[in-house]
């Protein structure tokens, strides 16, 4: 009797998920299925592999390479710098001002992207930017640095990658119990031995997971790069937008779907890796 009541209650609670599930189905499920099917169809609706083979050749293959390079580079730099910041903050007193400031700032900055971010950087360190002018007045000329190339995009991406890393890795650092270090020390371990044998192995899965999340985050970023480079840098999302909007050639929507499928696969693999690492971490650091 009690079991039946409990089951009914659970079913009722699950009803609360319906709006979310509907949202995911409409805005993620349906588009994904549409992209996957479209990638294997020609304009007449017949099945074909030509879109896939076109997407796998130049110039689109080059776009995948550039996107992968930028994503990997910003993920690695963002992960290392973010870890260092989170590590420093975790050493501060719990509930302290530093923690609150860094946590709040990271929460805001991690999602500050797109056109506003591109504009902020152009206004700051563009060729006519405020900081560029100030530094020029101080005799430091950075006008040769281009925001619109590979290095520029990397720099701008780091603006949201680093805070995202801080947000993602901080709980893992907090999960490291001081008793583990004390127990290790008590058994004869130096600080280095603790990190090599206990702390490091415990942090590795969340670090790798965060790295994959950052990679996926950069790979899927569109608006920032589009606003900043106006399509000069051939990133996959920009190529998809170009194909879909008909700027390249009419009737190539399914090529866009094939590019989208490639992107879904890469980001999906990265996020699956992230989820796998999160699962392992939660088992250890709960």
């Amino acid at each position: 009797m009690a079991d039946t009541k409990s089951r009914n209650r659970q079913r009722l609670d699950l009803l609360g998920l319906l709006p979310f599930l509907a949202y995911v189905a409409v805005f993620l499920g349906v588009p994904t299925v549409s992209v996957v099917l479209g990638a294997f169809q020609d304009d007449a609706g017949g099945w074909t592999l030509s879109n896939i083979s076109a997407a796998a050749g130049d110039p689109y293959l080059h776009a995948f390479v550039v996107s992968t390079e930028i994503s990997a580079l910003t993920a690695v730099i963002g992960a290392v710098v973010g870890l260092a910041i989170a590590f420093a903050v975790s050493a501060s007193p719990p509930g302290g001002v530093l923690r609150q400031v860094v946590s709040t700032a990271s929460g805001v900055l991690a999602y500050f992207a797109g056109v506003p971010l591109a504009f902020a950087f152009i206004a700051a360190i563009g060729s006519q930017g405020l900081v560029t002018k100030w530094l020029g007045a101080l005799g430091l000329d950075i006008s040769g640095f281009s925001l619109f190339g590979f290095a520029g995009i990397t720099l701008v991406y780091l603006y949201f990658q680093i805070p995202l890393m801080v947000l993602v890795i901080f709980p893992a650092l907090e999960g490291l119990r001081p008793q583990w270090q004390e127990a290790a020390s008590n058994l004869g371990a130096s600080r280095w031995q603790y990190w090599r044998l206990v702390g490091g192995p415990l942090l590795l899965p969340p670090f790798l997971g965060a790295l994959m999340l950052l990679f996926a985050n950069a790979f899927a970023a569109y608006a920032t790069a589009a606003a900043l480079t106006n399509g000069i840098i051939p990133l996959v999302p920009i190529q998809i937008a170009a194909v879909m909007s008909g700027n390249v050639a009419v009737g190539q929507e399914n090529l866009g779907n094939a590019l989208g499928l490639g992107m879904i696969l890469i980001v999906g693999i990265a996020l699956a890796g992230y989820a796998l690492m999160q699962r392992r971490t939660s088992r250890w650091l709960r």
């Binding site: 119990r177 008793q179 583990w180 004390e182 127990a183 290790a184 020390s185 008590n186 058994l187 004869g188 371990a189 130096s190 031995q193 044998l197 206990v198 192995p201 415990l202 088992r283 250890w284 650091l285 709960r286």
Partner: protein, 357 residues
């Protein structure tokens, strides 16, 4: 728990430990206020006291996990106050389960041996022996999350014993366990400690644990040592009113001082230490519930307020004429007729009692 153990884990002479004038403050709060304590080789001494009395601080200073503001720690006669924790050759079992979650039970036990350069084969053999010692042979490859709290603490104990420490430090290792496991594990810890002869400092706020496991109990209050004596002496001859009140239950009954005696409810009782008051002064006698004897009587002086059955013993609470409540622990068979509302005579066992003003 039965286990055969390697001869190398049999008793070795433990190390003497001495705490000399340890002081530690945190801002305005004094955690330790000149703690002196000598622990004999192979002895198990419990630091017992209420929360915040400084017992854990003392243990952590001995372990090297905290420093003292002044005072010193000696092991084997050597001053180790400035020696870092990882060079002290001590092992600690923590209150919260502190097994390394990325290592199996066997790897946890072998951790200290690995740091000491013991070969993998020897480590595995020793870890297996120690897990057998704590009754967890089958758990060698299990991770912490795959074990119960009691099993984790057993592994933590095996890990601590693996390095054959000079001193074993136990920081309330049983407090997170359920009652049944707690009693079982405390007996196992005591048995192992005696068999291996390791000098042990055990921190607890549970007086039953302290009294049942220790060679001596050091009762602490507000950073000071109130008394350090055998469990029997601490219980029967408390050195201070704090110890009398903290260890075991204690009645406070008004009486009249009379030199080396005190008159309580018309009965003269010897006092452990005569109070510095003139004869005839009002004092308070501290009497254990088991020293209070009640018998039903139609014209009794006290009335039973309530009774609480506790298996072999029943606690009967009576109310005196002035409203004071007095507890009496009686054999349950003798308490059958002492129902609430019953009138009774009250007498005290002829034992010396402590008196305070």
């Amino acid at each position: 728990m039965t286990a055969t153990i390697d001869p190398s884990t049999e008793a070795k002479p433990g190390s003497p430990v001495r705490l000399a004038g340890l002081r530690r403050g945190y801002g305005q709060v004094t955690a330790l206020d000149g703690l002196d304590l000598d622990i004999a080789p192979g002895e198990l001494v419990s630091l017992l006291g209420p929360s915040g009395c400084g017992k854990t601080t003392a243990l952590r200073i001995v372990a090297g996990l905290e420093h003292s503001d002044s005072g010193a720690v000696f092991v084997d006669g050597k001053d180790i106050t400035k020696v870092p924790a990882n060079k002290r050759d001590m092992a600690m079992v923590f209150q919260s389960y502190s097994l390394f979650p990325n290592l199996t039970a066997g790897e946890n036990v072998a951790f200290g041996l690995r740091l000491r350069g013991v070969s993998p084969a020897e480590r595995r053999k020793r870890a297996g022996e120690l897990l057998e010692l704590v009754g967890l042979t089958q758990h060698y490859d299990r991770y912490a999350t795959q074990m119960s709290g009691g099993q984790q603490q057993r592994v933590a104990l095996a890990r601590a014993l693996a390095i054959e420490p000079k001193v074993l430090l136990l920081d309330e290792p049983l407090s997170a366990l359920d009652a049944k496991v707690r009693v079982q594990l405390r007996d196992e810890i005591r048995s192992l400690q005696q068999r291996l002869g390791i000098t042990t400092l055990f921190v607890t706020h549970d007086q039953e644990e302290a009294l049942s496991m220790s060679d001596r109990v050091a009762v602490m209050n507000a950073g000071r040592l109130e008394q350090c004596a055998s469990p029997d002496e601490v219980y029967t001859r408390p050195a201070t009113p704090f110890v009398a009140a903290f260890v075991g239950a204690m009645n406070r009954i008004g009486g009249i001082a009379s030199g080396t005696e005190v008159e309580v409810l018309g009965q003269r009782l010897a006092v452990t230490q005569p109070p510095e008051v003139p004869a005839g002064a009002k004092v308070t006698a501290l009497v254990r519930p088991e020293s209070v004897l009640l018998t039903p009587a139609v014209a009794g002086l006290v009335r039973v307020a309530r009774s609480s059955f506790r298996g072999p013993v029943t606690r009967v609470t009576v109310e005196l004429a002035d409203g004071t409540e007095v507890d009496s622990d009686l054999p349950s068979s003798a308490a059958v007729d002492l129902r609430p509302g019953t009138l009774a005579d009250i007498r005290f066992a002829p034992e010396p009692v402590m008196v305070i003003q």
